[in-house]
């Protein structure tokens, strides 16, 4: 029971250790991205963070008044552990559409689900506000 299986095992173990070390180094040097409220992408992600943190006033500021949301927000779904990234962003004049890739991890890394959410925005002064039915609030009416 030597030779080839042991060689394969050594290669697999070496690759795993190397991957883990690289991931650790990259993680240690990784800076959280700056989110710019003047861009559609930044607005969407700041809005989601405000929902998670329970900062209802900020949430309402990011929403189109036509949605009828006021503080305090009614019972809304607030995920506790998520990871998000902008999958797609298109701006057409005064409107924009941002597609967010969202991974929710309810019970840790082994209990996760990934989905994509579409956010519609319109320009409002120097920034952007969300219209339509933005995740995870959808509507206040």
């Amino acid at each position: 029971m030597t030779n080839r299986p042991n060689l394969v095992l050594a290669v697999v173990a070496g690759l795993v250790v190397a991957l883990a070390v690289i991931a650790g180094l990259l993680t240690a040097t990784r800076e959280p991205p700056d989110l710019d409220p003047a861009t559609p992408e930044g607005t969407v992600q700041l809005f989601v963070l405000a929902v998670i943190d329970g900062e209802d006033e900020k949430v309402v500021d990011y929403l189109d008044p036509a949605l009828g949301c006021r503080t305090p927000l009614p019972e809304v779904y607030r995920p506790s552990r998520i990871s998000m990234a902008v999958a797609e962003s298109t701006t057409t004049g005064e409107t924009a559409r941002v597609v967010l890739d969202v991974t929710e991890q309810a019970g840790g890394v082994l209990d996760s689900s990934t989905h994509r959410e579409v956010f519609d925005l319109r320009a409002d002064g120097d920034g952007w506000i969300l219209t339509g039915h933005p995740w995870p609030i959808f509507s206040c009416k």
């Binding site: 029971m1 991931a23 840790g108």
Partner: protein, 590 residues
């Protein structure tokens, strides 16, 4: 983690039901006739009447004990239903039970019918289940509110009585083999309830001792857990410790001890240990998101309890298996099973390393589950899974080095390797399709970027984990094949041994010839143990055929047959030799 045990329990129930059906189907008899249809309706009706009368008695007893009737329930209707169930259902039940007893007296073969066995088994297990699940409710009311839950007490008393009657019936009318599914499924029920109750009791006690903040009624929850421990413990002692533990160690018995006892206990300990270790690592090294120690470790008591109880369950079943001399097949199954569980944890850890690497490489905002925490999850799974796999796989490797002839051809090893390839293959196919959907979605939308890679990270992690498992075990499989382990034994397709004795004869012959073997006893003459090696050599001359082997005088006759009945003996056209006789090769009966 209770999900794991619930899953195992559900699987055990399904397997139990399938075994019952298969056993009934394999039982030789006249097939479906008027008598079997009568039995079907008789036992179904009997079971339904037992349930109806028990519900009625429990309701009336609950009212007598002073149970509260909810506002939305009409008390008169409740009373009327209870009275109808008892005073109409009761006499009907008595008449049917009397008729059934009369059938049994007139024809002892009634006791052998699969439907009667199924009735007694199902009625006893359902009664045990209902009584056992009501006991935690009584405990909750007793410790949480300081009240007597009259409804719960009535259910426990009534269904315990139903169980006692059917337990007595099973002991009196079902012999060892036919009572085996009942005893083993009851043991599983007791084990699962007892283990769940123990984990909750230990976890809840730690919560209270540490003064952790809990909503609701923690004392009530503790009473509920103690009720589950009591119910599960009583069932387990009655079914397992005083009965099923002494049953012959056949596949069904081993299926309870190995996958459920050893496997379930180990999985529970590994899951609990992984979650606990991950919480500790995140607290000291990772990103705890500003939570207090009480918030961060709120599930730690239950996780610690799962580790302790899981290890005890594992150790107990390992001890029950015993330390027989030599390398028996159950011992092999035990080592491969434990190695496989450790390997699964390690493989998930390998995949999670890649997930964390991709998260670190691609842009994204993380809340609550940062890249560092993901990496720590990977490290945890590797730290927990690799040692378990390494310890038990090393034992397997040593056994293969010492006696390759028996180890490499053992069915356990071959099944283990095939199961690993199968599971890895299924995981890889599902992951590949998921990755393809994400990539093509972005290709079609013209938005392929780092986020595409990030979205695919779990699928890619699964692919890498499956590839790592397949690569190593593929090398092991090829090495086994090079050593001649996978050379297929060719013998007849099926063999019926008439007049054979010995409980393991069919398995030994299957191992030697690769044939499907059935053993029929002879009632007209005594039979002696057969020479398996000699018979296997003789059967080697009938590859792919169906044969009957009849113990005859001092030897045996091998007769090629056609089980379909469509082909018949055809005399050769030439005159000599005159007869293509059935092979009457004789072997020595020792």
């Amino acid at each position: 983690m209770f999900l794991v045990f619930s899953l195992v329990f559900t699987l055990a129930l399904i397997v139990g039901a399938i075994v019952l059906v298969v056993a009934a189907a394999r039982r030789r008899g006249p097939g479906i006739d008027a008598r079997s249809v009568r039995r079907f309706f008789q036992y179904v009706l009997l079971f339904a009447l037992v349930v109806v009368v028990a519900i009625g008695v429990a309701e009336l007893l609950g009212m007598l004990l002073g149970a509260d009737v909810p506002e939305w329930v009409d008390p008169d209707a409740e009373l009327a239903r209870g009275l109808a169930f008892v005073f109409v259902g009761g006499p009907l039940l008595a008449v049917l039970a009397w008729a059934t007893r009369r059938y049994h007296r007139l024809d002892p073969a009634e006791r052998d019918s699969g439907l009667y066995i199924a009735y007694v088994t199902l009625a006893a297990l359902v009664a045990a289940f209902v009584a056992a699940t009501a006991l935690p409710q009584v405990g909750f009311a007793a410790l949480g509110d300081g009240d007597l839950d009259a409804d719960g007490v009535a259910v426990v008393l009534t269904w315990t009585a139903v169980w006692a009657v059917h337990w007595w019936l099973a002991r009196r009318t079902l012999d060892g083999d036919r009572n085996t599914p009942h005893l083993l499924l009851g043991s599983v029920l007791g084990l699962v309830m007892g283990v769940a109750g123990l984990v909750n009791t230990l976890g809840g006690s730690l919560d209270l001792l540490l003064g952790l903040e809990r909503y609701g009624r923690p004392l009530g929850v503790l009473g509920e857990s103690l009720g589950a421990v009591l119910a599960g413990g009583l069932l387990w002692v009655r079914y397992w410790a005083t009965a099923a533990i002494r049953l012959p160690r056949r596949p069904l018995w081993l299926a309870v001890v190995l996958p459920l006892g050893v496997g379930g206990g180990l999985i529970m300990a590994l899951v609990g240990g992984s979650r606990l270790l991950w919480s500790v690592l995140v607290w000291f090294v990772g990103d705890r998101q500003g939570s207090s120690a009480a918030q961060h470790f709120d599930s730690a008591p239950v996780e610690a309890a799962a580790v302790v109880v899981g290890l005890v369950v594992w150790w107990y079943h390992r001890t029950v298996l015993g330390t027989a001399e030599g390398r028996t097949e159950p011992r092999r199954v035990y080592e491969y099973l434990v190695a496989g569980i450790g390997l699964a944890a390690a493989a998930v850890g390998v995949g999670t390393v890649l997930v964390s690497l991709i998260e670190a490489l691609t842009p994204g905002v993380d809340v609550g589950m940062t890249v560092m925490n993901t990496l720590l999850a990977a490290v945890t799974l590797l730290v927990v899974g690799v040692p378990v796999w390494w310890i038990f796989w090393s034992r397997v490797r040593r056994a293969a080095a010492v006696s390759p002839d028996s180890e490499l051809v053992s069915p356990t090893r071959r099944v283990y390797l095939v199961v690993l390839f199968g599971l890895a293959g299924i995981a890889a196919v599902v992951a590949l399709i998921a990755v393809a959907v994400i990539v093509l979605q972005d290709v079609v939308a013209g938005s392929v970027s780092g986020v595409t890679l990030r979205s695919s990270r779990y699928g890619l992690g699964t692919l890498v984990g499956a590839a790592a498992v397949s690569a190593y075990h593929g090398a092991v499989f090829r090495q086994d094949r090079a050593a001649g382990a996978t050379v297929r034994v060719t013998g007849p397709r099926s063999v019926v041994l008439v007049g054979a004795v010995g409980p393991e004869l069919d398995r030994e012959l299957t191992r030697a010839t690769g044939s499907r073997v059935e053993v029929w006893g002879r009632l007209d003459a005594a039979a002696a143990p057969w020479d398996v090696a000699g018979l296997a050599a003789a059967l080697g001359e009938y590859p792919g055929a169906d044969v009957v082997v009849v113990a005859d005088g001092g030897g045996y006759r091998v007769i090629p047959v056609d089980p379909s009945g469509r082909r018949a003996f055809v005399a050769p056209a030439v005159a000599e030799p005159a007869v293509d006789e059935p092979d009457t090769r004789s072997g020595e009966v020792r």
